[in-house]
């Protein structure tokens, strides 16, 4: 049964292949081919260019595999443009004044999805549905399977490179155990819901089929990480999710940057994400190499046994901190967090899937996966993990307090929550292997598990709001100052969002409460009081900014229930509830957002010795401190945003120098991006200039110098070619004379 879980792994790859080589090509070919050039404004020309780019990306995707498909993609990129030109023309003539004609964003639209595109979506959803059902089935059956819980199950392996003596093998190996299974369920479930949800969100995108192909590719990549049995495979998956993330963030390649909202263009955001991740990956791969060189294996179980034996603790700690660098990059921890807010430029379902629930959690998963190595590496490595997480949690939460961009609040919230997970992992391992075994990876992974659901819900809810506002205003609106009072207009979205908000705030008896309080309690239990204060304070901040976002979007001072529900809508148009394809996933995600925390057996399931002590949780006074802090955050947010006029609030902040400065620092995200820009501009580019100078003057100088020397020599020596035959004779016979003398000397004096 477990060995067939490889089917889940390869299912998304199958749907990727079907979409790229089958339905997407069909989608392209089935679009109208008639060329109709309309020149009623300059806009069309630009759109046409955009389509060429779109076709280009498609071509790149297909280029990797089959030239014929490339040709098809290029050929039909032009037809994308044609389809759109017709759409534009129809809109201009007033015959088809629907939602798409006047949108100011540059995402290419089609009037109606072609059959090929729709089938692409169904293929993706159907295959993901089967995968999700199978993974849930595996999870439920593994609950009672103690043999599996102990060892996991082998799935599939392939000897890539085999060395003599079995040391230094390169093996592509997949396995599944309880830790992986917990992650697997999260990935397939969220992925399925996002697939489903995207039907509504991407309803008229010209790149509909491509979007599903990317989603499938991402899911496959993520599953490679989940199933990985060794560092080699996890690194391959690591880079694959980086690629998919790049493709999906930059999905709207035609969109421009919006400097007034501090928003980069998707293309730049994608590049930033990719490059920032590479910085972390350098550390990651160096760490892997240190381990491999010393132990001769990538395999996790072998490493757990062998690495502490053959490596000194200092070396192991160095290696593990380097490995953790990869997690810093992938999970957007300080100082490599800058890419995640920018990544919000991607489509919102992508943000939900990749940049909230799954890929960014891969760093946490990876640390949990090699947790025994961290424990063996000692407190230095563990404290590094915990402190990076703690600082990130507080840092990101303070920024999230003042952000006005709907999705960016969620982005910083994600960073902050990921910090919690690292704190959970780091402090859990402190105190030697015996103590570490008590909770093991439980708290961190538990928070990952619950967070995935409510954060995906938050993002999909946000997407629902943005989608609705897009239809209402024909513009892309992400600023919460242009929302407000949306509660009654889109009740399902608002209600589910409220549930997720309370859950992430640590409101008692919701999913986030259990996982978060466990981590906060654990820091106290391990005596890390500084981390305790940080995490505790952060939970208050979290409650504050989440409720603030909720009220700003869905409520207002003049709304019902004391301003929590409805009120003045500050934007234009008339937003409506999103279609069912989008609300159903919200409702489905609301369920685990409430109940996921009640899986009290999660800790032993992922290998801890003890289960979550629920009774202890409720008798511990620190828990009530935590609840109180969260409630204080919620109450402050309520009074500041639901009772206070926003204009009044603005005046108060502006008139207080300390608050104003603080607001500015938070709003500009501690100027980290500016600092990096300066660093790149003067540090990296300066170094590049030096290196360029080295290249120009030393390397080129050598090459050119040799050439110049030869040229000069040739030019000067040619004057020995006098054209006079007697000079040549002197040369010739002079040579003979010299050789004669040399020969005589040799014969008479040397050879004797």
């Amino acid at each position: 049964m477990y060995q067939y879980s490889g089917l889940i792994l390869f299912a998304p790859l199958l749907s990727f292949v079907i979409i790229v080589f089958g339905t997407r090509v069909w989608d392209m070919t089935s679009r109208p081919k008639k060329v109709q050039i309309t020149t009623h404004d300059g806009h069309n020309t630009y759109e046409g260019e955009g389509h060429e780019q779109e076709a280009h990306v498609g071509a790149e995707l297909a280029y990797a595999s089959v030239p014929a498909v490339t040709t098809a993609a290029v050929a039909h990129g032009a037809q994308d443009a044609t389809a759109h030109a017709e759409d534009q023309a129809a809109a201009a003539h007033g015959a088809n004044l629907d939602d798409h004609g006047e949108d100011d964003d540059e995402d290419p639209k089609v009037a109606h999805l072609s059959a090929g595109a729709i089938v692409s979506g169904y293929v993706g959803i159907g295959i993901m549905l089967l995968a999700a059902i199978y993974s849930w089935f595996l999870l439920l059956s593994s609950l009672s399977d103690t043999a599996f819980q102990k060892t996991g199950a082998f799935v599939w392996s392939y000897d890539w490179l085999k060395q003599k003596g079995g040391v230094g093998d390169y093996t592509i190996a997949f396995h599944i155990d309880t830790l992986g299974l917990a992650m697997l369920v999260v990935v397939t479930t969220v992925s399925l819901l996002v697939h489903f949800y995207s039907q509504g969100y991407m309803e008229d995108s010209a790149g509909y089929a491509r979007f599903y192909a990317y989603l499938a590719l991402f899911t496959f990549s993520m599953l490679v990480i989940v199933f990985a049995q060794n560092f080699l495979v996890i690194f391959i998956g690591w880079e694959l999710v980086g690629l998919s993330s790049y493709l999906l963030i930059g999905f709207w390649i035609n969109k421009k940057a919006k400097p007034e909202e501090q928003r980069p263009s998707p293309a730049n955001a994608a590049m930033q994400a990719f490059v920032t991740n590479r910085i972390g990956d350098v550390g990651f791969i160096i760490g892997i190499m240190i381990l491999f060189v010393n132990t001769g294996t990538f395999d996790f179980p072998t490493l757990f046994v062998k690495a502490p034996q053959v490596m000194s603790q200092g070396l192991l700690a160095t290696a593990m901190i380097l490995v953790f660098c990869g997690a810093i990059g992938k999970s957007a921890q300080v100082p490599l967090h800058v890419w995640l807010p920018s990544a919000m430029e991607g489509p919102t379902p992508v943000s939900a899937l990749i940049h909230a629930a799954t890929m960014v959690a891969a760093g946490v998963y990876m640390v949990a996966r090699v947790f025994p190595l961290f424990v063996a590496a000692g407190p230095v490595a563990l404290l590094t993990v915990a402190w990076v997480g703690g600082i990130t949690a507080l840092f990101a939460a303070t920024i999230a307090l003042v952000q006005s961009d709907f999705k960016r609040v969620l982005a910083f919230s994600t960073i902050s929550q990921l910090g919690y997970m690292f704190v959970g992992l780091g402090v859990s391992g402190l105190g030697g292997p015996e103590t570490a075994a008590i909770y093991s990876t439980g708290p961190g992974m538990f928070h990952l598990f619950t967070h995935a659901f409510f954060k995906a819900l938050l993002f999909l809810g946000a997407g629902s709001v943005l989608h609705s506002l897009h239809h209402a205003t024909h513009k892309e609106v992400q600023d919460m100052r242009l929302m407000g009072g949306l509660g009654p207009k889109m009740p399902i979205t608002a209600l589910t969002w409220l549930i997720a908000t309370l859950s992430i705030s640590g409101f008692p008896f919701l999913a986030g409460f259990f996982s978060k309080e466990t981590i906060i309690g654990l820091t106290a239990q391990r005596g890390q009081w500084a981390l305790f204060i940080i995490t505790l304070g952060t939970s208050g901040l979290t409650a504050f900014y989440m409720l603030r976002a909720f009220i700003l979007a869905f409520g207002g001072t003049d709304g019902k229930y004391g301003g929590m529900w409805g009120g003045t809508y500050r934007g234009v148009g008339n937003p409506k509830e999103s279609p069912r394809t989008m609300t159903i996933p919200l409702l489905l995600l609301a369920i685990p957002s409430i109940i996921a925390g009640y899986w009290f057996g999660f800790f032993p399931y992922v290998g801890a010795r003890e289960a979550l002590d629920v009774a202890g949780l409720f008798t511990d006074p620190l828990t009530y401190v935590g609840i109180a802090v969260s409630l204080v955050g919620l109450v402050i947010a309520y009074f500041m945003y639901a009772r206070l006029n926003p204009a009044r609030l603005h005046t108060i902040v502006e008139n207080n120098a300390a608050l104003r400065t603080l607001h500015r620092i938070f709003y500009n995200r501690y100027y980290v991006d500016e600092f990096y820009n300066l660093l790149i501009k003067y540090g990296v580019l300066g170094l590049s200039h030096v290196e360029q100078a080295f290249d120009t003057y030393i390397v080129d100088g050598l090459v050119n110098g040799v050439a110049r020397l030869v040229t000069t020599l040739g030019r000067d020596i040619r004057y020995t070619e006098t054209g006079r035959v007697q000079s040549y004779m002197i040369g010739f016979f002079g040579g003979v004379a010299v050789l004669t003398v040399v020969a005589l000397v040799l014969v008479n004096f040397v050879a004797k």
Partner: protein, 111 residues
């Protein structure tokens, strides 16, 4: 003391050197040619001398009838005659075009 091979060889060598000096040091093209003729003669003398003394080898076989050196000398004379004819034709041709027979001035093939 009678004549030996070395007498002729040294004579040929001295003659060759004198011819070489003439060929290198004279500026008149015809004088250069004369030097070359002297060199050819020096070689011929050496050839014939070797032919004369190559009468018997270490095993007592008689080589007297071979006359290889003399045959070579004949061919050298033949070629020398041909060379002299062509070279003098060239000298005359150059003289006609450039009004000089000074080899120092004939340097059209320089760099």
């Amino acid at each position: 003391m009678g004549l030996s091979l070395n007498h002729f060889l040294v004579l040929g060598a001295m003659l060759f050197c004198i011819g070489l000096y003439g060929a290198i040091a004279k500026r008149n093209a015809i004088a250069v040619l004369m030097g070359i003729e002297i060199m050819l003669n020096a070689v011929n003398i050496t050839m014939v001398a070797f032919s004369f003394y190559n009468h018997v080898n270490a095993n007592g076989v008689n080589y007297s009838g071979l006359l290889t050196g003399q045959i070579f000398a004949i061919f050298i004379i033949t070629v020398a005659a041909a060379e002299a004819a062509v070279a003098l034709a060239m000298v005359i041709s150059i003289y006609r075009k450039r009004n000089t027979v000074d080899v120092s001035d004939i340097d059209m093939m320089k760099w």
